[in-house]
């Protein structure tokens, strides 16, 4: 049964993690995924529904000590409105721009998008290319404990993460990238609007003349989680971005992605798209 016996709207992180420590809790942030999932029966409410929207520690976008901290409750709309995100993390900004529709962006949070861990989650691929880490808070023995883990390790499967039941995703940390860094995002659905992507691609790299270093490539919807593409990155790392490098990267990408076939697209078509779209993005990089 999906009866909720308690509803809580904590006003502090301490209160929130105490509640998590105490019992069986459904965490509610934006609700844009939670509500359809509970309606469709994919997810049932636990006895305590905890609305974390009033927890002040979970909001805010701040830069200090070479690290960008994005509070887990930051909405996709807030990210879109941030000049800092637009200028320094343009791939993430583009992903936010392609995220569902405005009404959803106004409610959906970046923390929710991460914890929902969809293989096609829009913010996940750009965050992977930014070496993002997640900060998890819990209160196991009377005081708040935090651990930080790379996003790539946090995502463990479709809808699954390394978050323990008593942990709350507090923030996302992104090391401020060096000079010359650029990033980009591409998403292809069977239709442009609101679609869960058939494939998505994020790239990030430091550019020095024609040479790319610190290359990060991530793919969405081609594996059980959003993934980094090691072979594709290696094909580009430290090389000038020219036709040969692009060919090698595309070949590596098609080779290292093993997407599933479903009603949205066949595995074969997804791989073709990965190759074609990566080529389009890299051509754009080469020509700009």
């Amino acid at each position: 049964m999906s009866d909720i016996t308690a509803y809580a709207a904590p006003r502090s992180l301490d209160e929130a993690v105490s509640l998590l420590q105490a019992g069986d809790v459904t965490i509610l942030a934006g609700g844009t995924d939670l509500t359809p999932q509970t309606k469709s029966g994919k997810l049932t409410f636990r006895p305590t529904l905890m609305n974390i929207r009033r927890v002040p520690e979970l909001s805010g976008l701040t830069e200090s000590g070479g690290v960008m901290r994005i509070g887990a409750l930051t909405t996709i709309s807030s990210l879109l409105a941030s000049p800092l995100i637009h200028e320094r993390f343009n791939g993430l900004w583009q992903a936010c721009d392609h995220f569902a529709s405005d009404q959803i962006r106004n409610a959906a949070t970046i923390g929710g998008n991460i914890c929902n861990a969809s293989p096609a989650g829009d913010t996940l691929t750009p965050l992977l290319t930014l070496d993002a880490r997640v900060v998890l808070a819990s209160k196991p023995n009377g005081s708040i404990v935090r651990r930080t883990t790379p996003l790539g390790e946090f995502l463990t499967g479709p809808g699954r993460t390394a978050r323990q039941p008593a942990e709350l995703l507090e923030a996302i940390e992104i090391p401020m990238p060096p000079e010359g860094f650029f990033s980009a995002f591409f998403k292809f659905g069977t239709r442009p609007a609101l679609d869960i992507s058939v494939i998505s691609i994020a790239i990030g790299a430091v550019r020095d003349g024609r040479k790319l270093t610190r290359v990060r490539i991530a793919f969405g919807a081609v594996a059980p989680t959003a993934i980094r593409a090691a072979a594709t990155e290696a094909a580009l790392e430290g090389r000038p971005i020219d036709a040969a490098a692009i060919d090698a990267a595309v070949a590596a990408a098609v080779n290292e992605t093993k997407p599933v076939s479903d009603v949205r697209a066949s595995s074969w078509y997804r791989r073709e798209l990965v190759g074609n779209m990566l080529r389009r993005m890299l051509d754009h990089v080469a020509n700009s």
């Binding site: 049964m1 309606k39 469709s40 292809f188 069977t190 239709r191 442009p192 609007a193 609101l194 869960i196 479903d262 009603v263 949205r264 697209a265 066949s266 074969w268 078509y269 073709e272 798209l273 074609n276 779209m277 389009r280």
Partner: protein
């Protein structure tokens, strides 16, 4: 009162802003789910999770004991009720009537599709009803399922009914085999294509919902329910429940789109009516969208091999079709008729083609039943013909426009009796094609194409010339009442579900009787007031209700002249009526129609031969179909890297006869085209091997959005219909009929450089990409 306005601003032909809108734009519409009454209970339906299986038992005990549960009903409780039969006397080749011509109520011994209703749970609240519905245990022994019509016809296919061999309840043939065979033997060219009309969901934005009440004292039901006409829905619900029609009242408020789907009796309605009577409580039911993906009737799903025989000069000799209509798990009132009658009749289109043959197998499958969906065979027939014309042009080397011109029925041949038994009363098909070409800037295409190519896109253009046979207007009420408050009420039995009837019908009355627009009300949604009427469907409302109003207006004028002759003290032969005023010819003595109606209401001591009222009750007698037609021209761009197709230009020239409100008519055409674009490029219902729906929500089912819609250029080029007093032809379904072929012909044209000669619908990016990269695709599969 509003400022006085010139009535001519509101007459026929004027783009009058809709009187319906003030309420709708402020959230004051009354849709079925908006209705709530004291003491209402809520129903939730238990549905089959299997596409095919033996229903061994239904265990309701656990659910019955749950909080708030009032009752649970299964097929055993509903055995007395039978949904109305198909109104069409369809016969197979051997003369036998269609088998299984009823929809079942609830599943009894077998379940036949995912979504097949099994039980109704009624509880004190919606959430309690839904929770209890989850707890009802249907013990189903799964059987192999079949969802595709050709597969259902194959030997060894799962048999869905014990008494319908081969899943084939109806096997029809139309046409003269010998003559058609002879025509093909004489042909210089034969075009051949297999044409699939993909299954779509109707997806009216308002899900189905209803509230049923029963009054034990009068033994009368009241059904607040969506419909396409309250008179027909009342009769059908009464028949289903086995009560006289007067024991059923149907009230329909605003309907949030229907497109053919909401006009029929669904099994849930019988169960809910039963519950309302059994519990003596109002029972409400409201479907969630996910449920509607399996509980609403779906549209299309035909798979047809077509051949067109041409003489050396391009003259069409014969069109031969043979195919399968997937009608789903149950026979609905319209499901089989669409495949068996409407497709080939509409394939005649604007061409002289003397011989048409259709061999159709209507197949039962383990899928939701097929019903009427915008056009109901009309778009499918036109799609077939226009694809065949293009294919014929390709194989014969004759220019496709020229080929159309050579085969058009010419104005001087009208009235034209076609081989399929229709008589076209009006139309100028070549003139219309020429105007469409001009409107679409045909000559500027080369430059637009060059621009597309420069951006790395493929571009193509396509023509969809169409002609549809509307439903024949049935007997229809036209009642005009001059009310105490000085207003005038039109009562008629068609029903608005977005078409703007209140505005359009008022314009007809403004034109006829000169009554100010803002004094006119239209009543359609109460079966106690609508005493006869064929409802809305098949693009016939303007011909049916419009004619009824015009003819009732004649009765008002006739009575008014007699009354005016008394009041103005003149001979009735001297009374003339013009623009709302009765006057004595050659004098300044006159009286307005509203004033005359008022005087009659209050007058005493009138002579016995003077009418006591101007109110008129009239029934328009069933009249022939009309033939709306037009020519649509689409231009598409294809992204060769992804296979994405975008409709970038869309021009249409339509002949809808007399257009009462061009703004509303254009809106109907826009919407119809978009439903066609959706079917052509993105919409599809997909089942897996077990018959589970894979596209069961708007997340996986692609309903067109604004960014996928083109802007439209639209022109009217009317020829006046001779079969109804307004000269109108109906416009509701035409958009779909033009859009399917225009878009698909354009896409085939765009893919010509890739060696593609045909694409089946829906042309999703993956389909297009595979075709455009044919060799590679096969090598890598």
């Amino acid at each position: 009162m509003s400022a006085p306005t010139d009535i001519s601003d509101f007459s026929i032909g004027k783009p009058v802003r809709r009187s319906e809108d003030a309420a709708l734009i402020q959230g004051r519409g009354r849709y079925s789910d908006d209705i709530a009454v004291d003491g209402q209970a809520f129903g939730a339906v238990v549905r089959s999770r299997y596409a095919h299986g033996r229903l061994r038992s239904v265990n309701i005990e656990a659910a019955k004991g749950m909080p708030g549960v009032l009752a649970i009903y299964t097929a055993a409780d509903l055995a007395a009720y039978v949904a109305p039969r198909s109104p069409f006397a369809l016969k197979s080749i051997d003369g036998s009537p269609m088998l299984g011509a009823t929809t079942a109520t609830f599943a009894k011994d077998k379940v036949r599709f995912v979504g097949d209703p099994i039980a109704l749970v009624v509880a004190e609240s919606e959430i309690l009803a839904r929770e209890a519905a989850e707890a009802v245990e249907a013990n189903i022994e799964p059987l192999p399922a079949v969802t595709d019509a050709r597969a259902a016809a194959a030997p060894g296919a799962p048999q869905i009914y014990d008494d319908i061999p081969g899943n084939l309840p109806l096997h029809t043939h139309f046409g003269d085999i010998d003559k058609v065979t002879d025509a093909f033997s004489r042909a210089a060219h034969v075009a051949r294509l297999r044409l699939v009309s993909n299954r779509v969901v109707v997806a009216a934005m308002e899900p189905r919902a209803a509230l049923f009440e029963y009054d034990p004292a009068s033994e009368r039901f009241t059904a607040h329910i969506q419909s396409q006409g309250v008179f027909g829905m009342r009769n059908n619900l009464a028949a289903a429940m086995g009560v006289p029609p007067e024991k059923m009242r149907v009230l329909t408020g605003q309907v949030g789109g229907s497109f053919g789907m909401k006009g029929v009796v669904f099994p849930e309605y019988m169960a809910l009516l039963h519950a309302a009577r059994d519990l003596k409580r109002p029972v409400k039911w409201s479907e969630q969208r996910t449920e509607s993906f399996v509980s609403d009737h779906q549209g299309r799903d035909h798979d047809i091999d077509a051949e067109l025989a041409l003489a050396a000069d391009g003259t069409f000799l014969a069109l031969r079709m043979s195919g399968y209509g997937n009608i789903g798990a149950y026979v609905t009132p319209f499901g089989a008729m669409i495949a068996a009658l409407n497709i080939h009749r509409n394939a005649q289109s604007v061409y002289r083609t003397p011989l048409i043959e259709m061999h159709m197998r209507c197949m039962l499958t383990n899928t939701p039943p097929i019903g009427a969906y915008r056009g109901a065979g009309r778009p499918e027939g036109n799609y077939i013909m226009e694809r065949m014309v293009e294919e014929a042009a390709r194989i014969s080397g004759i220019d496709p426009i020229d080929l159309r011109r050579r085969n058009h029925i010419r104005p001087e041949q009208i009235p034209f009796a076609t081989g399929i038994g229709t008589i076209y009363d009006s139309g100028d098909f070549t003139g219309l094609l020429d105007e469409a070409i001009e409107a679409a800037d045909w000559n500027g295409y080369a430059q637009r194409k060059a621009e597309s190519v420069a951006r790395g896109k493929l571009r193509g253009r396509g023509i969809g010339q169409y002609l549809e046979i509307t439903a024949p207007p049935t007997n229809e009420l036209g009642k005009i009442d001059f009310d105490e408050d000085g207003g005038v009420t039109i009562t008629t039995g068609t029903l608005d579900f977005g078409q703007g009837h209140a505005t359009t019908f008022a314009q007809v009355l403004v034109d006829k009787l000169g009554i100010p627009f803002d004094r006119i009300r239209v009543v359609q949604g109460d079966s106690d007031r609508v005493t006869i009427g064929g409802g809305t469907g098949g693009s016939k409302s303007i011909m049916a209700s419009g004619a009824a109003i015009v003819e009732a207006g004649d009765k008002v004028i006739e009575a008014g002249k007699l009354a005016a002759s008394h009041l103005l003290e003149a001979a009735v032969s001297d009374i003339v009526f013009s623009r709302g005023v009765f006057s004595v010819a050659g004098t300044d003595r006159q009286i307005g129609v509203l004033e005359l109606a008022r005087r009659l209401r209050v007058a005493t001591g009138l002579p016995t031969d003077c009418p006591v009222t101007l109110n008129a009750v009239h029934v328009h007698k069933a009249s022939p179909s009309a033939y709306p037609n037009g020519c649509h021209i689409a231009e598409v761009e294809v992204d060769p890297d992804t296979g994405t197709v975008a409709v970038v230009r869309y021009t249409m020239t339509n002949d809808f006869g007399t257009v009462v409100n061009p703004m509303i008519v254009a809106g109907q055409a826009h919407g119809g085209v978009m439903q066609g674009v959706g079917q052509a490029l993105m919409e599809r219902v997909v089942f897996d091997r077990d018959g589970q729906i894979l596209t069961g929500s708007f997340t996986d089912y692609a309903l067109p959005r604004a960014s996928e819609a083109p802007p439209f250029v639209i022109r009217n080029r009317p020829t006046i219909a001779t079969t109804n007093p307004l000269g109108a032809k109906g416009c509701g379904e035409a958009g779909c009929a033009g859009a399917l072929p225009a878009v698909m012909n354009a896409l085939v044209d765009a893919l010509k450089p890739c060696g593609v000669t045909h694409v089946n619908m829906p042309a999703t990016p993956e389909v297009v990409w595979r075709l455009a990269n044919g060799k590679q695709a096969r090598a890598m599969d």
